[in-house]
């Protein structure tokens, strides 16, 4: 198992954001976490990357405990997080944003190669290389956020609501990108409000409800499941 979360709880003050969540991410797969607002999807993802401290349970990545590490140390283990709302550095250029993603890397030649790969994958970023990130459209910013995460040469990519606020045609583009990245061997954890999209992309899915895991199973099974369809797919 690439990443394993066992019995995780996270509290914000006195509020339990998540109570008891266990998630397994196998090597090379796309795992999705779906659920309504406030179910704890984003918190679960933040716990994985060390953005919020956990109060219970343990997280292992490639067999090593990573819970308790600050976010700035988790990246070094090979986990890249594309945060909700993209969170690119608005006043920095596209290229500076991407290079900042490689902040911890010392292998200069490989960084240049990866930068070229990102530019190949997202030609629009190459065109806008010297432009300030904030001047780009939402879809371009999402691509930049993904590109920045790829620049850390991760083995696991955490994506929080990559489709949020984007036009349907751009959402399709992002979906294709996620599939491509995964096809090249990168494992992905996808948190999505858009359950339809998430269940189409993913191999395995977890459904969260008020901080607990309500259901889990292969994505295509959940996609056809009556309860899931009624609650999350709006059909």
């Amino acid at each position: 198992m690439l990443l394993e979360m066992k019995g995780i709880a996270v509290n914000y003050g006195k509020i339990n954001a998540i109570r008891d969540i266990s998630i397994q991410v196998p090597e090379g797969k796309i795992v999705t976490i779906i659920g309504g607002n406030g179910a704890g999807k984003t918190t679960t993802l933040r716990a994985m990357s060390g953005m919020v401290p956990i109060t219970k349970g343990e997280i292992t990545f490639e067999g090593k405990r990573i819970d308790g590490l600050p976010a700035s140390k988790v990246v070094a283990h090979g986990i890249a997080h594309v945060p909700e709302g993209r969170r690119i550095f608005p006043q920095m250029t596209v290229e500076e944003n991407l290079r900042t993603g490689a902040f911890l890397r010392r292998d200069k030649d490989a960084v240049e190669n990866d930068l070229e790969d990102v530019f190949k994958r997202f030609e629009r970023l190459r065109e806008r290389r010297t432009q300030r990130a904030q001047t780009m459209s939402g879809g371009e910013q999402q691509m930049l956020a993904i590109g920045r995460a790829l620049m850390s040469a991760p083995r696991l990519l955490l994506m929080d609501e990559p489709s949020m606020g984007l036009a349907p045609v751009i959402v399709e583009e992002i979906a294709v990108i996620v599939e491509e990245i995964n096809a090249q061997g990168l494992s992905v954890v996808l948190v999505e409000q858009n359950a339809e999209l998430a269940l189409e992309l993913a191999d395995y899915a977890y459904v969260l409800e008020t901080g607990n895991c309500a259901m889990e199973g292969p994505a295509h099974e959940l996609h056809d499941n009556e309860t899931v369809r009624a609650a999350y797919l709006g059909i």
Binding site: P83, R87, F89, Q91, M92, T100, R148
Partner: protein, 289 residues
Amino acid sequence: MLDLLAQTGLNAVYAASYISLVAVGLVLIFGVMGVINFAHGELFMAGAYVVVAVYADMHMPFFIAVVVGLLFVGCLGLLMERALFRPLRDNPLGGLVASIGFLMILQALATMGFGVRMEFIPPVTQHVVQLGENISIPLARVYVIVAAIVLLSALWYFLKRTRFGWALRASAQDPQAAELQGISIAQTAKIAMFIGAGLAGIAGALTAPLISVNPHMGHSVIVTAFIVIIVGGVGSLEGAIIASIAYAFVHTFVTTFYGGVIADITGLSLMLIVLIVKPTGLFGSADRA
């Protein structure tokens, strides 16, 4: 008349040099720490007193005193980060109040160590560069101008071309997202405090032989720096430099032709006008750095 204008312009360039060193440091600290450092004028004062101690009292070379000023005040910045701003992270108002306390401590220490009287500092050089019949500039002022250009260019290169420079800007623009890239905020905070404070210190050290050094000299410096960063747009380094130059020219010319009090009033009025017309400052935006 033309000579007088040229001479005044030259004086303005000198004023712009040390004002921009102070203002850029203040902006850098605000950007990364999210705190307005009220003690910034006193860091300038501390730099000046390093020159009093090392150059005037211990008779070491002026150049050494300036370098010591940079390092010593830079370390005061590190001390502020560790003792005040780190425990008060996520509490900008608390950080501001703590920096006011630190300002008073520095003033008290300077008074205890050196007394309240103005310090006499022997001139570094009596040499005057003659640029025309009636245009001249003391060499000591040229030092300040050259130092400001060199230091600000170096800072520019650091911020725009090096990985730690990007890390610093990233942590100013979005600390959480910066941590996700592996950037340690604790580390960038230290770098920003050292550079920001060090720039104020070296500005104080360089100008010490040219101005009156006393424990309360920081006041006028911080007021000027505040005007400059508000006009330039809080958080914008480019804005701080351009506003420093603009302010220095306006202030120096008005002082020469109408007097110092009118010049101060003009400076403050300009700040008010900018705040009314463009509240984010000339180069400011809602984001930082």
